[in-house]
Amino acid sequence: MQRLLEFVGIDPQRFQARWISGSEAAKFAETITNLTEQIKPLGPNRKLRDDV
Amino acid sequence: MSDPVRKQLEAHPLVPVVGEIIKIVEETPDVKTFHVTTEHGKPFTPMPGQLAMLSLLPVGEAMFSITTQGEDHLEFSIKKTGMLTDALHEAEVGQKVGIRGPYGNGFPVDFCKGKNMLFIGGGIGLAPVRSMIYHCINNRDEYGKMQIIYGARSPQDLVFKEDLFENWPKVSDCEVNVTVDRGDDRWDGHVGFVPQFIEELGPKPENTVAIICGPPIMIKFTLPIMEKLGFTDEQIITTLEMRMKCGIGKCGRCNIGSCYVCLDGPVFSLAQLKNMPNEY
């Protein structure tokens, strides 16, 4: 999926897939924190959006 | 029709007027009757049998028959069958709704004048017929004998119980016959399917118009019995349901042959239906 999104011009950093079990709260929080940090500098996404 | 509503619907026939649910009556576990009005009062004065588009703006829009009307409101009896009707059943008094209409041809009131009226309904199918029953009650001297034959799956599935057991039997020269497919401990009325019930009651075809509405399976078995009793195709009138989106004969999906149910229906005589392709 990540590769396909990259292929259609979406920054692969904007999409991540992680396998997190329901019991892995810490891993979930860590993943989200990291992802947010990585995404912030990229700015708002303008792709795959409509003009309206 | 109230003037502001008429003007708006003329200018933008596909844009609803915003109205409000002012009363909700629980008829059965899955049927509720909604009383709807607008700030201009009753949005329009439909003929019995006509339809209206009712919407919950964020959920969707669908065509419903107008069950009856009061001085200042319209009534819709709606069974839970999909996303919109589920949402409507969640709604409470005060809920804003969209409404546009009225659509279609109603029951042929002039054709029926002076005749005996036989109403046959099954399940939620009594909802559209009820508008005509009330029309006859309100203009009682213009119509002959009234007979209402109604059936539902079980006693708790009977709609309009107050009408069936209290109001309508009191109307002069009006016979009400109710049956259920399966009774329960408290049910002391008739048990059996509508078609057989009709056969037992044996209504007379002379100078009579029969208005039938119910599930397809009921209609299928009722028609041969009507024929046996001597009713002609012209004497049998029914009202159809089709998927509708626009209500004004443009969007294309409710056609049966070259008829559009929303404009040319939903009321058809059996004679008309037999001339149309069997695709409904």
């Binding site: 292929f7 259609v8 795959l48 | -």
Partner: protein, 298 residues
């Protein structure tokens, strides 16, 4: 090819006369000389409608789904690519193998009917192969009950050629890629021809048809069109048999196969070389688990 046409007719006549099958699905001549659309023959006297020429481009395997509930068998002719569609449907457990008879026809590659428009018939030989046939590696049917004619030699198509369009697009920078695909899918009118022709699109109810919940909005706008494109590509990932029908039938000329081939290329890189629909034994890489699978998402 004339010879094979006769063999097809004979075979069809035999099957229908012996009442072994109710229908034979093949190709017939269409409106123009460069069209050979599908035909369904149910009477022995109609078998002369069948033809085998350079324009039998339609993949007939998908039609098996229309006959799922037929009492009695059907027979159909398959080219190499079509036969991979049969394996697709069998592997997806959409059809029963004993419900139909497969008659294989080796295929030298079909000509491009779009390029033939407006040409006179005597120019037929100068026509190029259809794009979907130019990089074909399986001209001979891989599953059949009977094979008519002699096998043809498979062209040597290497990955450079097969993924040429993918490689070219991969070189672009992200904004160029996005502009390219946005422009392509802004053309999409959402007629669903690509889905309806695809043997890998065999769900009983397609997500794109579901109104509740409405996964795909019905507005024909950039976001919904691209969502449709990417979702469909992922749904056939690892199952696309590269018959190229989606791209051929697209009235708007969207290069759909570039999306599918991109996924195929990645799957080959990640899970080892795999060609969908080549046989019934190999499981699709995305349909099985192996301890050695790459784990970049863990």
């Amino acid at each position: 090819m004339m010879d094979l046409t006769q063999k097809m007719r004979d075979k069809a006549r035999e099957l229908l006369e012996k009442e072994e099958v109710k229908y034979v699905i093949g190709w017939e001549k269409g409106t123009f000389w460069y069209q050979s659309p599908p035909v369904f023959i149910s009477r022995p006297e109609d078998v002369d409608k069948l033809v085998w020429d350079q324009f039998c481009i339609n993949n007939l395997s998908k039609y098996l789904l229309d006959f799922k509930h037929l009492e009695g068998k059907i027979a159909l002719f398959v080219k190499g690519c079509d036969s991979r569609g049969i394996n697709r449907l069998l592997q997806d457990q959409q059809v029963q193998r004993d419900a139909f008879i497969v008659i294989g026809v080796p295929c030298p590659g079909m000509k491009d009917p779009e390029k033939a428009k407006g040409l006179s018939e005597d120019k037929a030989d100068q026509l190029q192969l259809a794009e979907k046939c130019a990089t074909c590696t399986t001209p001979n049917p891989v599953i059949y009950d009977e094979l008519l004619g002699d096998e043809v030699a498979a062209a040597q198509v290497d990955d450079v050629e097969r993924f040429a369009r993918v490689n070219e697009l991969e070189q672009k920078d992200p904004d160029e890629k996005y502009d390219f695909w946005k422009r392509q899918y802004d053309k999409c009118i959402r007629c669903f021809a690509c889905r309806n022709v695809c043997p890998a699109c065999n769900c009983r109810e397609c997500v794109f048809d579901q109104a509740e919940p409405e996964w795909l909005g019905k507005r024909v706008v950039s976001s919904e069109n691209q969502f449709f494109a990417l979702t469909r590509a992922m749904h056939v990932a690892g199952r696309c048999i590269e018959c190229g029908e989606c791209e051929r039938v697209c009235p708007m000329g969207i290069p759909i196969m570039s999306l599918n081939r991109k996924i195929i290329k990645d799957i080959n890189n990640l899970f080892g070389s795999y060609d969908a629909g080549m046989n019934l034994e190999d499981q699709p890489p995305l349909g099985k688990y192996d301890v050695n699978d790459p784990e970049e998402f863990m």
